[in-house]
Symmetry: C2
C-alpha cells in the first residue's frame, strides 16, 4: 500500500542548515507513489531542436521612463519565443551551473518547476549542476544550498509542497543584501538563477538580473509565475501555477458543504477563501460550484459598497430564499474582503493612530477621537470583531486583517439585520450560520494534472532561456487551452510587466497584481448567472481531484474563459 524511500538524498546536503525534513525518509501514500511516475508531456517545441526568436522591444506596464531609469541594463529588451529549428546542430552543450529558489507561500507544482529545470539540463547540457537554495531568498544571501541530484529530486515529482528545498519570505533589498547575493553567485560560479515566486519575488528577480548585468556578472536570472491567488498573470503568462489545484481543492470542499446544506436544509454556510489581494479564487470557486451568494472584492470596491450594503445584499437573498422555502445556502467570501471596503480601511487607520498614541479607557472616551463615520461603523460591528480590531496588532502596529474572521463577522451582522426584519414582519424563518475558512489545506495539495504539466514546462522552458543567455525574463508558457504539444514556450521581459509606486519619496518598481476585471469574461459569466444561482440552487459538487479517468484533465474556468475557449 505504501513505499518507503531510503535516505539517499541526505548525502547531498552541503551546509549546516537545520535538518532537511524532506521526503528522503518519508513513507508515501499509494496516491503519492502513483504520482511520482506520472508521465509529464512536453510541448512539442521542447521535444526537438528549437531556436529562440526575439520579439520587438518592450516597454513597461506604466511609467516607462521611471522603469527605464530603474533598469538601465534591461529596460526595453524583447520577449523571447522558442520556435522549432531545422538545424541539426542542436543546442550549445556547455555545462551550466544553475541555482533555483522558491520564494513566498506554497503553490502546488513548485517541485515540478525544479524537475523541469533539472531535466532540461540533463537533456541539453549534460553534466550541468543544479543548486537548490534553501529556505527562500535567505538561502541565496547566506549561501545555503544543496546540490540537486536525480535521486534527490525523484520522490518530489508531481508532489505538493515546497519542502524539497523549502521557501521563505525574505527579500533581497538592501545594498548589503545584493552584495551577499553577488558573492553567492560568484562563489558558486552561477551561470543562472531561477526565481519561483509571486509578483514581489519576480520584481526582486528582475532587480537581481539588473544588478548582476550591471556588475558584469555572468549570472542570468529567470522568473517563474507562482501563486495560488492567481493574481500574477498577463497576456503572455495566462495563469500562475498552483491556482488550478488550490481552486479545485476548495471547490471540492465547497461542493461537499453544498450537498450538506441541501440535505439538512437549515444552515447558511459562510465560506471564507484564501486569497487576500484579489478575488480570483473566490470567483473561480463560484464558477465551479454555483453558490447562492458570492462576494467579489473588486466589485465591492468598484461600487463603493459598505459593510452595511454587503450585509443587506446577503439578507435580501436570505429573505427571498425563505419565501421560496429555502432556509439554507452557501456564501463565498474572499479573505481580503474588508481590504476592499473604504470605510473599513478608514476605521482601521484611525484605530491604528489611536492605539499608537492614546490610552484606550474602559469607559470608551477614546471613541470620541474617531470621526463620526468611523464611530458609526465601529458601533455597527459585532463585539467580537470590535475586539479583534482593538487587540491584534502586528509588530508594525497594524491590524492583522487576514486574522479577522470576516465570515463570522458577516454571520453576526446578518443575524442582527434578520432580527430587525423579523420584528418588522419581513422575515419569518430561522437563520443558522456556519463559518468555514479554507486556506492552508489548498496550498500544498498534490498538483492537478494541469499544474503538474504546466509547471514542468515552465521549468524546462526556464532552462532553455538560461542556456540561451536570457536574463530578466519570466518563463512564459501559452496557448494553454490547446493540447500540451501545441503549448507555446518563451520568456516575457519582466520590466514590461512593471509600473512604479512611490514609497517613502522614492519610486519602487512593482509588478501590478492582476485583479479580477469586472469586464473580463470570468466575472461577466458569473454576473450573468448569479441571480439564477441565488434562488434556484444550481449547486455543483466537483468532487475530489482525480488523477486518472473522468475530469482528470479538466482545467479551471477562469483560464478557459480568459482564453475565450469557454462560453
Amino acid at each position: 500500500m505504501s513505499i518507503s524511500f531510503i535516505s539517499n538524498g541526505e548525502a547531498a546536503v552541503k551546509s549546516n542548515y537545520p535538518p532537511l525534513s524532506g521526503r528522503v525518509s518519508s513513507v508515501y501514500s499509494e496516491v503519492q507513489s502513483s504520482r511520482i511516475n506520472h508521465n509529464l508531456p512536453l510541448p512539442s517545441v521542447l521535444r526537438s531542436s528549437f531556436t529562440i526568436v526575439d520579439g520587438p522591444p518592450s516597454s513597461a506596464a506604466g511609467n516607462p521612463d521611471e522603469i527605464a531609469k530603474l533598469f538601465p541594463n534591461l529596460f526595453g529588451q524583447p520577449s523571447a519565443k522558442l520556435v522549432p529549428s531545422d538545424s541539426s546542430k542542436g543546442q550549445p552543450d556547455k555545462k551550466l551551473k544553475i541555482g533555483v529558489v522558491l520564494s513566498g507561500g506554497q503553490a502546488p507544482g513548485g517541485h515540478n518547476v525544479i524537475s523541469g529545470i533539472f531535466d532540461y539540463l540533463q537533456d541539453h547540457a549534460k553534466g550541468s549542476v543544479l543548486y537548490g537554495f534553501r529556505g527562500g531568498p535567505a538561502g541565496i544571501m547566506k549561501c545555503k544550498y544543496i546540490e540537486l541530484t536525480s535521486e534527490y529530486i525523484y520522490p518530489y515529482r508531481n508532489q505538493g509542497g515546497f519542502d524539497m528545498i523549502c521557501s521563505g519570505r525574505d527579500k533581497i533589498e538592501t545594498p548589503e543584501q545584493f552584495k551577499q547575493a553577488e558573492e553567492t553567485a560568484k562563489k558558486l560560479d552561477l551561470d543562472g538563477l531561477v526565481v519561483i515566486g509571486g509578483d514581489d519575488s519576480n520584481t526582486n528577480a528582475c532587480l537581481l538580473a539588473e544588478n548582476f548585468r550591471g556588475k558584469n556578472l555572468k549570472t542570468r536570472v529567470i522568473g517563474c509565475p507562482k501563486t495560488i491567488d492567481g493574481d500574477l498573470k498577463c497576456k503572455e503568462v495566462p495563469t500562475s501555477f498552483g491556482f488550478d489545484t488550490a481552486c479545485r481543492i476548495y471547490a471540492e470542499m465547497i461542493g461537499n458543504v453544498m450537498i450538506d446544506a441541501r440535505s439538512t436544509g437549515k444552515y447558511y454556510h459562510f465560506v471564507r477563501l484564501m486569497g487576500r489581494a484579489a478575488s480570483h479564487i473566490t470567483l473561480e470557486c463560484a464558477l465551479q460550484t454555483h453558490p447562492n451568494i458570492t462576494i467579489i472584492g473588486e466589485e465591492v470596491y468598484a461600487q463603493k459598497q459598505t459593510l452595511k450594503s454587503v450585509t443587506d445584499y446577503i439578507v435580501d437573498v436570505v429573505c427571498k430564499r425563505a419565501e421560496l422555502g429555502y432556509n439554507y445556502g452557501v456564501i463565498l467570501i474572499p479573505e481580503g474582503l474588508i481590504d476592499f471596503i473604504p470605510e473599513v480601511q478608514q476605521l482601521i487607520a484611525e484605530l491604528n493612530e489611536i492605539l499608537a498614541h492614546d490610552i484606550v479607557d474602559d469607559e470608551g472616551l477614546w471613541k470620541k477621537k474617531l470621526t463620526s463615520q468611523s464611530l458609526e461603523l465601529f458601533e455597527f460591528l459585532p463585539q467580537a470583531i470590535q475586539e479583534q480590531l482593538m487587540l491584534e496588532r502586528d509588530p508594525h502596529g497594524n491590524v492583522q486583517v487576514a486574522r479577522i474572521e470576516t465570515e463570522k463577522m458577516l454571520i453576526q451582522m446578518v443575524e442582527t439585520e434578520l432580527e430587525k426584519r423579523k420584528s418588522e414582519g419581513a422575515y419569518k424563518a430561522q437563520f443558522k450560520g456556519q463559518s468555514h475558512f479554507f486556506g492552508y489545506e489548498g496550498r500544498c495539495g498534490l498538483p492537478t494534472n494541469f499544474d503538474s504539466t504546466y509547471c514542468y514546462a515552465l521549468g524546462y522552458g526556464a532552462g532553455a532561456l538560461l542556456q540561451s543567455g536570457k536574463t530578466g525574463l519570466i518563463s512564459s508558457v501559452g496557448n494553454l487551452a490547446a493540447p500540451v504539444e501545441e503549448w507555446t514556450v518563451g520568456g516575457t521581459a519582466l520590466t514590461s510587466l512593471m509600473d512604479v509606486e512611490r514609497r517613502h519619496g522614492k519610486f519602487k518598481p512593482v509588478i501590478k497584481k492582476a485583479m479580477v476585471e469586472l469586464d473580463g469574461a470570468p466575472f461577466k459569466k458569473f454576473a450573468s448567472l448569479r441571480d439564477d444561482w441565488a434562488f434556484n440552487n444550481r449547486y455543483i459538487s466537483p468532487g475530489p481531484i482525480q488523477f486518472v479517468g473522468p475530469a482528470s484533465n479538466a482545467v479551471n474556468h477562469t483560464l478557459l474563459l480568459e482564453l475565450g475557449v469557454e462560453a
Copy 2:
C-alpha cells in the same frame, strides 16, 4: 463536461411539503456524472438464490432482564444469515410496500442504501413500491413521503448527501408519536420500513418494530448502521457507513496541511475533527497521516487527564521538537475532547447552575460560588474560552460544547505554557499556532468505492430481510476484508446490542456507543508508533479520494486492524 437532468422526478411528489430541492434540476460535475454509472458489485450470496438461516437465541449487551421487559415481543430473537440455496424455487415474489427513512446527520453512502433496497425489490419482488419518508422520522409521523421510482433514484446513485429524501433529527418517542407512525404504516399498507441512522435511530427502529409487532401490524422494521463517527459497530456490524469516506476526506486535508507545515517550517497546525462522542475519526486520520501529536478522548478519560496535563504533553513534544530543529507540527484533536475531561465537566455543571440561578456580576463575585478546583480551572482557561463557557447556552441552559473551539483553546494554553518555559530557559524557539476545524465538508462527500459498495449491500440485504419477514434486526454485512463476492449478509437482533440507562427514574434502552478501545488493534498500533511520529516527521499525505486507479479500492485502517487483516 457536465450533464443536466430533466425534472422527471417531481411528478412523483405526493405531498405539499416544501419544494424538493434534490438532484432533479441539478447540473452535475464530470466526476458526479461518472459516478452514477459506477458498477456496484454484490456479495455472491445476493447474486443467486439464497435462504435465511437463523442463529441461536440472542441476549442483550447489558441488563438482559430489563431489555426483555422493554421488548417483550422481540427480545431473544436470533440473528439471521443469508446462505446460498440450491432450491430453484426462488424467493417468494409477493409485491411489497416498503418505506425508508434517513435519520440524523449525513453520512456518505445513504443514497446507495436506498438504491440497494430499491434494486432488491425490482430484482426479487417486481411491482413492489418504495416510499421515501421526507425529512427524517418527522416524515413518518406526518406521513410526508414520495414514491421512489427508478428515474427518481437514478441520479443519486453513488452520490453524497441525504438530499434524495432529506433527513431530520426528530425522534418517535411519545405514545402520540407512536400512534402517528402506526397510522402512517396502516395508511400506506406498509410491509416494511428501513431506518437508516445511528445508535439512537436504531434504538428507535427497534422500539417501532416492537410496537408494530405488539399491535399485530404487519409492518416490519430493519435498521441500517449509519454514522461518520464510526461508533455504531459490533462483531456482526464491523463498521458504520460513511466513516470510510469522511476519514478519507479529512485525511486528505490533514495530509495537505502536513506538507504545508513541513514546507513553511514555522506553524503548528491544530486540527479539530468532527466526531464528538468517540475519537474513532481522529484515530483513523492519525493512522492514515502520522501526525506529530494525536489526542484520543478515550485515553484522556482513562488516564484521568486534566487540561493542564494535555497541554503539558503537547508542550513537551513542542520543546523536544525545537531541540531537534523542528518548529512546526501537526496536532489532531477530537471534537469531543473536553467531554472526556472530568474537571471540565464539573466546571461546566457548576457554571450551568450559577447561570441559571445567580447574577453574574462584572466584578466577578459570582466566581466565589465555584468550587476551588473549578475556580482554578476557570482562571487557567484563556479569556475567549471563559467567555464561550459563560455565553453560549442551548435552549436547555447547557453549554454548547461542540461550539467551543477546543483547537484555539489549546493553542492559547500551549502559548502560555511555552512563554513560561521560555522564561525558564527551557524553550528558545518561536511558536505559531494555526487552527482548523474539519467537519461539515466530510459528511457529504462522494462516497468512496468502499462506502458505495458497502451501502448498496446493506440496502439490498435489508430488502431480503424484510421480504423474509424479519423485524427488529440491523442489516449486517461482514467479512469486509475479503473481496466483495465473499462478503456475508444478514441481520443482527437490535435488542442484542442494547443495554439500559436510567433517565428520570425510568429505564431507557440504548445501543451503547462503540468507543475507541484502548486495547483494540487500531489504538495499539497508534500507541506503538506515536513517539516515532512525534519526533521523526513520518507524515503521509493520502491525497484526494480516487475513484479509479491507485488507492481507489483502499479501505480504512481501523476496519482492517479490527478485522485482524492489517498488522
